[in-house]
Symmetry: C2
Subunit: 480 residues, 2 copies
Amino acid sequence: MDQLIEITFEALLDTKLSIPLYQQLHSKLREAILKGVLPAGNRLPATRAMARRHNISRNTVLTAYEQLIAEGYLETQTGAGTFVCATLPDSLIMTTSPQPVPTQHKKEHTKSKDHLTPGSPAINQFPKSVWARLVSRAWRNANNSLLTHDDPQGYAPLRVAIAKYLHASRGVVATADQVLIVAGLQQGLKLIIDGLMEKPSTVMLEEPGYPGMYKTARMSQAKIIPVPIDENGATVPNQHDHNKHPSNLLVISPSRQYPLGLTMPISRRLELLAWAQETNSLILEDDYDSEFRYAGKPLTALQGIDGGDRVIYGGSFSKSVFPALRLGYLIMPPALVEPITRYRSAVDSFPSIMPQLALTSFIEEGHFARHIRQLHKTHAHRQALFCSAFNKHLSHWFDLTYADTGLHLMAVAKNDYQFDDITMAKHAKHCGLAASPLSITYHSTKSKHGLLFGFANIEEQKIDSALQQFSGYMPKETHE
Amino acid sequence: MDQLIEITFEALLDTKLSIPLYQQLHSKLREAILKGVLPAGNRLPATRAMARRHNISRNTVLTAYEQLIAEGYLETQTGAGTFVCATLPDSLIMTTSPQPVPTQHKKEHTKSKDHLTPGSPAINQFPKSVWARLVSRAWRNANNSLLTHDDPQGYAPLRVAIAKYLHASRGVVATADQVLIVAGLQQGLKLIIDGLMEKPSTVMLEEPGYPGMYKTARMSQAKIIPVPIDENGATVPNQHDHNKHPSNLLVISPSRQYPLGLTMPISRRLELLAWAQETNSLILEDDYDSEFRYAGKPLTALQGIDGGDRVIYGGSFSKSVFPALRLGYLIMPPALVEPITRYRSAVDSFPSIMPQLALTSFIEEGHFARHIRQLHKTHAHRQALFCSAFNKHLSHWFDLTYADTGLHLMAVAKNDYQFDDITMAKHAKHCGLAASPLSITYHSTKSKHGLLFGFANIEEQKIDSALQQFSGYMPKETHE
């Protein structure tokens, strides 16, 4: 056991890297657990011993251990030390015969089959009774003026709560006056194109990139230009724009590129900001699942690096609260608040008070933060189980990319097994897996084939059997 | 007293008119009460005597009396007969010194000043505690699949409830599959223009007409053509359309033209339907406040006359529930359901479950119907008070048009007193009146000046003093 840790360590701790030591330690231990190098039930060295042996501070070790405990990889047993979770991963993955499902449950499952999208959080963890209580209290105490509340930017207390939250969690620099409440980022993109941009306008989208954004952009009259992704994320476009009002919009996901999962380094961020300044272009920063970062701190949002002039920051509560809520936000540069609000008011009046009121209480009273923490634990645990089971059953056909963030993992089909991933996604859904084909994220270049698997909204005891069942659909001739 | 009724009667009951006798009787009695010809506290003839004397059936008299009782004009005193309501109109209008307002209340009033729009229902009657209870129960009992509910047409049980309700109340012929839930009619118009019509498209709007629709149409790329209003409402356009897909959309308010208040007779309705068929055009029937009809039955919706091919019927719950709810609907011709839903899905995904879930319970459990009945009573009562007080203080400067429907009354400035109605609307708001200038409903022809007054959302005891205060702003030279 101690030896295993030693081996892992040799290749790990690099004091010259900009990544903090505790984070390096965390990642490597996590990987060792996921790969089975550190099997379930094994005891880790005491923090003091670990620190001494590797000449690092005990705090560094403590921080890494604590994070892994919070994420469900490790557990402490009083007086006995720190162990790799006993329920993780083998004992659960071994469950081969799924429990019989009661009828009521079965119906629900059938109903929600359509919702097997990789972007779902752990839906069954949402505190519905808390929500019911908050909503009820908000309406019992509601002032009559709420019934006619009609701010086209959105409910002011919610905007305050969002500005505060994003500042703390993402380094977004904005007042509540810069927040525009929208139903989601697709509505946000449409409002930006239709309401702010000089016509004819050009929308530059990541290639590969999120198909929802392509769909929305295609429905506008804008010209679409794909932006290639390199190892640093979106590359700098060569479009120029010399109109008085911006006619170029670049849509990017720097925190975690969809679908490839790359995090954009600060150098590329600065290059893109410089390009936007020079060419009078706008950037929409799509921070679609930054709430779910399981290791380390995320890089500050592009918006927080920019002076606030060129970057519109967008996010939603679809993943962190629930998808049917339909609430998201744009953080606008100050000069663009008035024109986009005026446009919104003309085409969509103002957003409904109902979801806004409920969400405001949910955030203000600390339930949101608590819920996110709880999801982190569940998601990290499920991701670990998923990776183990996936590698056990499917590594012959796919390269799975680990992720420190988000709700899905990318599995690229190995060269020899290029197959129709649209059909494969259907098979996966049939097995109860949330899967989406990789090829549909390519819009103008040759598609890679593979699958994006949601790991967050699948019950622990179903993961292994679902993946095993799915492996039955793999090409037979190569399956020993 | 009996003689007064007799005089009123001579000019009234016309058996050759298509209007039912009970309705003629109802209107005339109502007018007599509003004009003070039948003063408060006076006893009406017994139904049997009334019927015999005028050679009509006793049922006719009973129906008319009952409607006036329901609307708050008459009241019965057991054993003594039917009387003009004692609290209506004089005793209340006489209140010259308004009650001192507690601070809390004052604050609320100040806050809601921005919401003094003529389209508001009696906001303080909304049963917030019932709503709180329904919402809480719905969430406590919610199936997890509600959290990911994502139907781009809207929540199916709500669509069922709406189809049923519109069939019963408006003669709309549609299944739940034809219902598209929208945030409001402006969003509906935008979806129709952007998602259904061949480009370049033409939108024909009533002149004068609702400014919100103009605003939305202007924001689309459509060409706008004004449609003149004659005494039968919107006239038949001379636009033709020979595209494969419709490129002409006519937007009309046949139930009650906004702002003039005309109801379109069946002859004109048939002409417009024929025109739409011949020219491959679409009609959007805006039934913006048909829930509030105080006398008689409304004409069947245009949608119910049409085979369902050419007419999109639209309405909202902004007035019948509360404006901040932001829920409305389009009833689509069957062939257009799929394309508009596909378009909506691309640009706006799907509507939030929260307002939909609450409203579904509100309708299904009978609260909606009960609330509408309660509002009818309050609104009719407030309209009566408003008319009396208005005529007392302002008839020198305005011609007030009575209305059997809706939430507002039109007061046209008399020829000698043409004034800037935008300034006047501000003065009126300053007096606590919900007023909107008539001139802003004209977009391409010479404006009439006047004011549209909301009567539904003003507390009874404030009506007289507010109108008296407002009369202080009238031109001094002519005020004796």
